[in-house]
């Protein structure tokens, strides 16, 4: 993983490297280098597929972290690329023309985090939520319990009896 990092660092300015395992690492990159890096990894380094594209909401820092996880079946290694984007009006360049699978992930991110990917096919179509009007539910300021309490009716909980209280009431009904 470190040799790959040194190799890549000759061509691209890279950020921090985290080596999770011998065959799994994560590199922070700037968003303008992402596409070139993805193409390089696919065409020259032989990475065979995009495993997932997901987001982390760093609400306090005001950023979304996008993680592009790539896999290389032949050399049995996985590489994640971390891209930090601004949280306000979050928008990112689409990579569906590099990895077609990204279109589905981008559609999901658009719905669950409200990150826009202009030009990604069908990115604004409803994916899991239909007719959602609130803020995207995976954003951390979304209070899922409050929303559930307001939207759905809850069944009243069952009655429980504390044994000590119960026996006290049975034995000393007048509270003596």
């Amino acid at each position: 993983m470190r040799t790959l990092y040194a190799e890549l660092n000759k061509r691209f300015p890279l950020g921090e490297l985290t080596v999770q395992r011998e065959d799994l690492g994560f590199i922070t990159v700037e968003r303008e280098h992402l596409r070139a890096l993805l193409l390089h990894l696919r065409d020259l380094e032989g990475f065979t597929h995009l495993v997932l594209l997901t987001a982390v909401d760093w609400m306090e820092e005001g950023i979304f972290q996008l993680t592009y996880l790539l896999s290389d079946r032949k050399k049995r290694r996985d590489l994640g690329l971390r891209v930090m984007i601004a949280r306000d009006g979050a928008s990112m360049e689409t990579v569906h023309d590099v990895w077609p699978t990204a279109a589905t992930y981008q559609r999901e991110l658009c719905e669950m985090f409200g990150i826009d990917f202009p030009d990604s096919p069908g990115v604004h179509d409803p994916f899991i939520l239909e007719g959602w009007t609130d803020i995207p539910p995976y954003r951390r300021e979304f209070d899922t319990k409050k929303y559930a309490d307001e939207t759905f009716t809850h069944r009243a909980g069952r009655e429980t009896n504390d044994p000590a209280e119960y026996m006290k009431k049975q034995l000393y009904p007048d509270g003596a």
């Binding site: 899991i128 939520l129 239909e130 007719g131 959602w132 009007t133 609130d134 539910p137 979304f142 899922t144 319990k145 929303y147 559930a148 939207t151 759905f152 009716t153 809850h154 069944r155």
Partner: protein, 213 residues
């Protein structure tokens, strides 16, 4: 509302223009009616006995509980020996098992399927998710009380209940039907406005007629 559901003029392959209004063309929006017992009690009892011995389940797994149906319909637990079988379409079935959690998106499909079933029809809520939300009690996307949206005859508690529990549930449902208490379809028709109001409260983009069969 989606574009394909809007009223519009369409040009056919032969150049003939015609108007399409999907909501009125493809659905009947007449409200359901209450069907009172049609015969004297002894004949109704015979009918109820016959109904209880041919429970046909709609093969629609809404959540993880659907996995319990596979051993049930295959030789290991073999529910077919009790007159219980699975059918591919709502038209042929009279029991709807809501197997597990029900997301709002699935609820919409469940309502459509339920309304397409023939009366008399029964609903079983399987697993704790249908009773009080279960482990999804604070989820933003699953309903918590199934009987707010559909008339439920029987709940089977557990997470997940074993196939044996389902077999016991079928036996209990048979007792309910034989006693003439499997009146879910009539309850639904009687309290139709209440059910619809509850359904529309959670389904934000209601793009189907109120009653589609």
């Amino acid at each position: 509302m989606k574009d394909e559901l809007k009223k519009r003029i369409i040009t056919g392959p032969d150049g003939f223009e015609f108007e399409v209004d999907p909501l009125n063309d493809y659905y009947c929006d007449a409200p359901p009616k209450v069907h009172p017992p049609a015969y004297v009690k002894i004949v109704e009892d015979l009918f109820n006995w016959a109904r209880s011995e041919s429970i046909w389940i709609l093969g629609f797994g809404t959540g993880c509980g659907a996995i319990e149906m596979r051993p049930l319909m295959t030789p290991r637990f073999d529910a077919y020996r009790y007159g219980v079988q699975w059918r591919p379409t709502p038209r042929q079935s009279n029991l709807f098992i809501i197997s597990g959690y029900l997301s709002v998106k699935t609820l919409k499909r469940v309502i459509r399927s339920y309304e397409q079933m023939q009366s008399p029809k029964y609903v079983i809520g399987l697993g704790s998710c249908t009773i009080n939300g279960g482990m999804y009690w604070d989820s933003y996307n699953t309903i918590k009380k199934l009987d707010e949206y559909l008339p439920v005859d029987l709940y089977i508690a557990g997470c997940m209940p074993r196939p044996e529990a389902l077999l016991k549930g079928f036996e209990d449902l048979k007792k309910i039907i034989r006693a003439g208490e499997g009146e879910g379809a009539n309850i639904y028709a009687k309290n139709f406005d209440w059910y619809k109001a509850n359904q529309k409260k959670v389904i934000q983009d209601w793009d189907m007629p109120d009653y589609n069969w």
